[in-house]
Amino acid sequence: MIYEVEIVTQRKVATGCYRLEMYAPEVAQTAQPGQFLMLKTSITLDPLLRRPFSINTVDRDRGLVKILYRVVGRGTALLAGRKLGRRLSIFGPLGRGFTVPANGRFLVVAGGLGIAPLYFLIQRLKALGNEVVVFYGAQNRFKLLLLEELAAMRVELFTATDNGSSGHKGTVVDLLRTKGIPPADLIYAAGPPPMLKALAALLREAEMPRAEFSLEERMACGAGACRGCAVKVIAEEGPVYKRVCADGPVFLAGEVVWE
């Protein structure tokens, strides 16, 4: 679960966004869509804690694992400056990922970097021969990542951008509301909290079936021990705090208490 791995490639995929590939055969072997890694971004005591990143895709045969990330603070800035061949300490795969049914029709809703875990999911769903519709929103067209890769997988793709530079002008939830939610056996989503909250509201209105959302919360251990990554969900006994890292990061949209 804890490995010192080598950075194989690191590519800038948009302003401030990078895709980093590492050689981590054990992780590549066992990782499931929706799971994540805790990465150490520094060799000094500052930044101190590991940072969580979704597994963006794996190449089992070649033992490769990719993450897709945006520079938002010191840890990600240090990561972006890491040289190829340098060693990186990773901990994972962690968490409970998405359900991947053998067959069905699926809707995937991605907002911004939410595409990171969903891309891996889409790959798996398509590999099983399923029909996948993807709604994907971002600030502008330059921030819509992995479009070529998605096209190559022949998913049905609808995009939305805040400034209308690609697809619908507005949020991805607006787009869904406008176009109507396509029929699906299961809905998946990942993205910034306001988007997930709005999507959950829309799905509730539409009385749509099960939806699996990947959530984010600040983490310390990533292993279910510290109880730092609390999210409020409705359980049988009422609202309780669950751990994003160990009980999630994937939760049912309907069980999350949006605050």
Binding site: L45, D46, P47, A220, C221, C226, A230, Y241
Partner: protein
């Protein structure tokens, strides 16, 4: 020859002096797949109250320079659940268990300690950093009177078990409080709990933590922890479990030299879940390299002539 790492913590014999710090290793079982629990000197459980507690609203953790803040808020499933589900499982795995007891009243502390003692744990740690509801949130560790009352209640409930009073360094005078709990029957001290702290979310112009304030841990506080261990070791004859920012074997050695009989790894577990067992191995290596045959030779060694 392998150096001797065995220590005697107020009657509790440990095969090595490396523990987990309360609240940073869950109930041990969370790490069972990843860490050889049997190789750790003892697992100190997360603090437990009588009834289950939900804890504080998120965000509950945030990073600070060379440290972190947490405001978990004593989330725990309550003593009955821990006593029936966790303790037997740990014992089955051959793990030495130190229960950390918490409460809102003196009576609650005593009751939780009684249940853990009955369940057969190996020692009790008293988390004195809980707010006293009767005193409007002032923590029990803040005044001599409250600290002594809690310690005495736990001491009585714990039977023959060693009782370690866990102290912070704010709120009151460390040596005064330490003296009061020693008199009330503490077998030793756990030093230090987190420092109070706050982080600001500049963009949103509000505190980062849902609970506004939290506890500061990690390397940032190591100098304060070493100071506390140094002072308490010098003033009292009782054994000390030292903790605060231990991230390496060297850090652990610093605590022994200042007077700790054992050390506990807290925040370090988050960065490296195997840190405890790696420090056990690291101590063996470091002692062998320096021809120290017994870790006990190092305990308090930096006090020579000071």
């Amino acid at each position: 020859m392998k150096p001797d790492l065995e220590v005697n913590l107020a009657g509790l014999r440990l095969k090595n002096p490396v523990l987990t710090a309360s609240g940073t290793f869950g109930f041990g079982l969370e790490y069972a797949r990843l860490v050889d629990l049997g190789a750790i000197g003892a697992v100190v459980l997360k603090s437990v109250t009588l009834h289950s507690r939900q804890g504080n609203p998120p965000p509950r953790v945030t990073e600070t320079p060379a440290g972190m803040l947490n405001s978990i808020g004593l989330e725990n499933p309550g003593a009955p659940a821990v006593v029936s589900k966790v303790v037997p499982e740990l014992k089955r795995l051959g793990v030495k268990v130190i229960a950390s007891v918490a409460g809102e009243t003196v009576e609650e502390y005593g009751e939780v300690a009684r249940r853990f003692a009955a369940a057969g744990v190996d020692a009790i740690e008293v988390n004195l950093s809980c707010p006293n509801v009767a005193r409007g949130g002032l923590t029990f560790g803040c005044t001599r009177g409250m600290a002594a009352a809690v310690t005495a209640a736990v001491r009585q409930a714990a039977g023959d078990l060693p009782v370690f009073a866990k102290l912070g360094v704010t709120g009151g005078n460390l040596l005064e409080i330490a003296g009061a709990v020693a008199e009330a029957g503490a077998s030793g001290f756990s030093l230090i709990n987190t420092l109070p702290g706050l982080a600001v979310d500049l963009r949103q112009r509000r505190p980062v933590l849902g609970n506004v304030t939290g506890g500061l841990s990690g390397p940032a506080i190591k100098p304060v922890a070493l100071w506390a261990v140094w002072q308490v070791y010098k003033a009292f004859k009782l054994p000390v479990i030292g903790m605060g920012g231990i991230m390496s074997t060297s850090d652990a050695l610093e605590f022994f030299l200042c007077g700790a009989t054992a050390v506990a790894v807290g925040t370090g577990n988050f960065v490296n879940p195997r840190l405890t067992t790696e420090i056990v191995a690291g101590l063996e290596k470091a002692l062998a390299a320096e021809h120290v045959s017994d870790i006990k030779e190092l305990i308090g060694a930096a006090h020579n002539g000071k």
